[in-house]
Symmetry: none
Subunit: 236 residues, 4 copies
Amino acid sequence: MEKAITISTLARREREKLQRRSDILEAAEELFDEKGFESATIEEIARRTELSKGTIYLYFKSKDELLLAVCIKGIAGFREELEEAARRKRGLESKIKAVYLSYIEFFLEVPHVFRVLHDTFTERLRRNLSQDAINLINWTIIEAVRFGSAFVQQGIDSGLFRRDVDPYAFSVAAWQLATALLDLAILSDPGVIDRDSLEKMFSKSIEILVDGLKCGAPPEEKSSGQKASGRSGTRS
Amino acid sequence: MEKAITISTLARREREKLQRRSDILEAAEELFDEKGFESATIEEIARRTELSKGTIYLYFKSKDELLLAVCIKGIAGFREELEEAARRKRGLESKIKAVYLSYIEFFLEVPHVFRVLHDTFTERLRRNLSQDAINLINWTIIEAVRFGSAFVQQGIDSGLFRRDVDPYAFSVAAWQLATALLDLAILSDPGVIDRDSLEKMFSKSIEILVDGLKCGAPPEEKSSGQKASGRSGTRS
Amino acid sequence: MEKAITISTLARREREKLQRRSDILEAAEELFDEKGFESATIEEIARRTELSKGTIYLYFKSKDELLLAVCIKGIAGFREELEEAARRKRGLESKIKAVYLSYIEFFLEVPHVFRVLHDTFTERLRRNLSQDAINLINWTIIEAVRFGSAFVQQGIDSGLFRRDVDPYAFSVAAWQLATALLDLAILSDPGVIDRDSLEKMFSKSIEILVDGLKCGAPPEEKSSGQKASGRSGTRS
Amino acid sequence: MEKAITISTLARREREKLQRRSDILEAAEELFDEKGFESATIEEIARRTELSKGTIYLYFKSKDELLLAVCIKGIAGFREELEEAARRKRGLESKIKAVYLSYIEFFLEVPHVFRVLHDTFTERLRRNLSQDAINLINWTIIEAVRFGSAFVQQGIDSGLFRRDVDPYAFSVAAWQLATALLDLAILSDPGVIDRDSLEKMFSKSIEILVDGLKCGAPPEEKSSGQKASGRSGTRS
DNA sequence: CATGAATGAGACTTCATTCAT
DNA sequence: TATGAATGAAGTCTCATTCAT
């Protein structure tokens, strides 16, 4: 009898624990986003989750660990998403656009996490994470950038794109542009830009970039190729 | 004895006061950038300026006020700089590129200030400023974006640029791209991108954008113009 | 189903309970010794006994109660040990030495308990015990000291020992010396003293004390007897 | 004028700071002694010194640092005291007794410090100090023990003392006995021993030890000398 | 004006203890 | 009985701000 109770009880408890952890994580995401990591308080997270301060520490060893958990949750599945987007499309141009847009969509769904991750990547909060954690975040993003740059390289090789562009640098720029638009979208203070325009900007921006990549090609090129070569290959 | 204080003494004192204020501001810029506003301490600013903590409060009423002063200093002269850049060039395309690059150059010279301003604009630190201060910052930047969009509008009107682009949105995107590149340049973690590539990215990025603006134009357009119209005009 | 619980089951349960209590006690001894009472945590005791935190409270009402139990366990059988040691020997000198050494041996076997008891007696942790508990500990030790002093008194009365010694005070000193050596033995930082020397010190120390008690006797004594008289008799 | 004020002001401020530091130290001594390091709170130290919590941290970086300061203050001048005591006396026996008694007197004047030091040395609190600090304390005490053992060695060499005693071990025992008596004296719970008897015990105890050292000498010695030799010499 | 000692609110974190299961 | 999640009081430490000199 006790066993019967136990098994289902354990399962429920386990689920509750997971739920609670998830609740805390969500509250932390929001608060870190709203106030920034430093200004956010465990007290407030406890209040929002309707738990006690001590309970938070049952699920996360420290405030820093909580930040780390938010970040890790943020990048989980990120790379797969990009790859899936590329896989679904035929054609270099389509793939590039799809990757670009899927990056935006991915983070648009977890705007708080995006902000926290962005802050962390922007070194502001870097101090609070272990080197391993920082490496994980950096690595994930840089690899994603490289993933995109491979397509650009293919476009150049096949003569579709202008040769005077560094594929990696282009990829970085595209990533930064997407990031910037995300920032804008999430702030989305209507005083600056409205939602409607944003949506258009998402697709238009990559369209313009890719168009620039294509048609701006100089008729002749002598010395511009070397700087791009190998870029999307090995980098430390 | 006190009466011996001459006009020149007063002048010197005045100069010293100004200098001191400027020193504090500079130290604050750096520290806010390095550690973020919350983690920066008045103690450290005092140490760096070789003044006492109390003295800081003689020049700035509070830590928040100090942040405001850093921001205001940051945007002072910003608009003039852009206008001067546009004035120096002939031709729409050149003007647009010049404005874009002058934005980058302007903030590249005060990277600390840029970061603080960016953070502040990105709402992270918004809480710490009065509404007036926030409005000032927002306004300055938005006006600059509009200043740029006017040229784009001219390009569209003259048939130089594709019609399916919202000039304001384009301007926002360009601004965000420039901002993102600045971010990148200032972080400039060689693991992500090297200085050399950056410099090229500055000019290349606007080149691609403008190229995209030009050559991507669809042969015929029926319904795309209306959404953009009036954009660069009245907005709250 | 419940009725199926037999006497032997009860006995087993009883044994298990006792065992569990004993396990907890042992873990507490070690931990209180290792980290001191304040720094030891119930959490850690639970971990070491492989029980849950709640279970500890099933066996001991509070952390303080646990300390008390450790102390009581420590002094249980202590007095009997000393008396047995004295009984086994013939001759005053041998009895004194035997009691002294048996004190050392007794606690050498439970070093953790010794340390906890010593700390408690040394008032450091006194606050955490009820007055009754404190009295019990004090009483046990003081009675042991008096037990030893009786032999010294006999030695003085029989002319074997010098008359200018207060038997009670001597006994206290011997006890403290033994205690100090135990402390040393248990710390046994080889940088201070090695094990080998310690063993010798145990026997040598009491030898020297007793030798001093014997041969240092002044040829004549006029005024030394009064201060010692009645000492080993009535004391609160 | 300002200068004149300044100099004397500075001096006074300096004195006040020193006084305040000393006040805090004294309060800490007492409290660490009364409750033990762990149970003592900065709050309470602040209350006793009539300062605010924050002010304590102006004078000591942390609670641990405060403990260290108490310890360092405790051993400052300790060695000199022992040497001075030895210098004042003629004759080996007198010197040994003087050193022994001066050890007791030294710490009897700062009972709180003694307790804290003793606890720290007894490893209970060792965790809280840096290795350097621990080494300093250990070193000071061990050197003092060696200082005493040198006299014992001289006594053995000159035939005054029995040969079957390890001078270093004897010295350790004497130190531990003195320590134990100090412990007793400071507790001085009249239920255990009264002040009066204590005073006598201080001198009597060393008298007995030295007497034992002298007269217990076996008429002939064959194999006991080797273990003692070199002891007071080099030890790590 | 300049100083820097003092303050005290408030942050993070720990842990004895309780209690529903 | 046993569990371990939850609690919240309490402790250490930081830092913006004030104020007497």
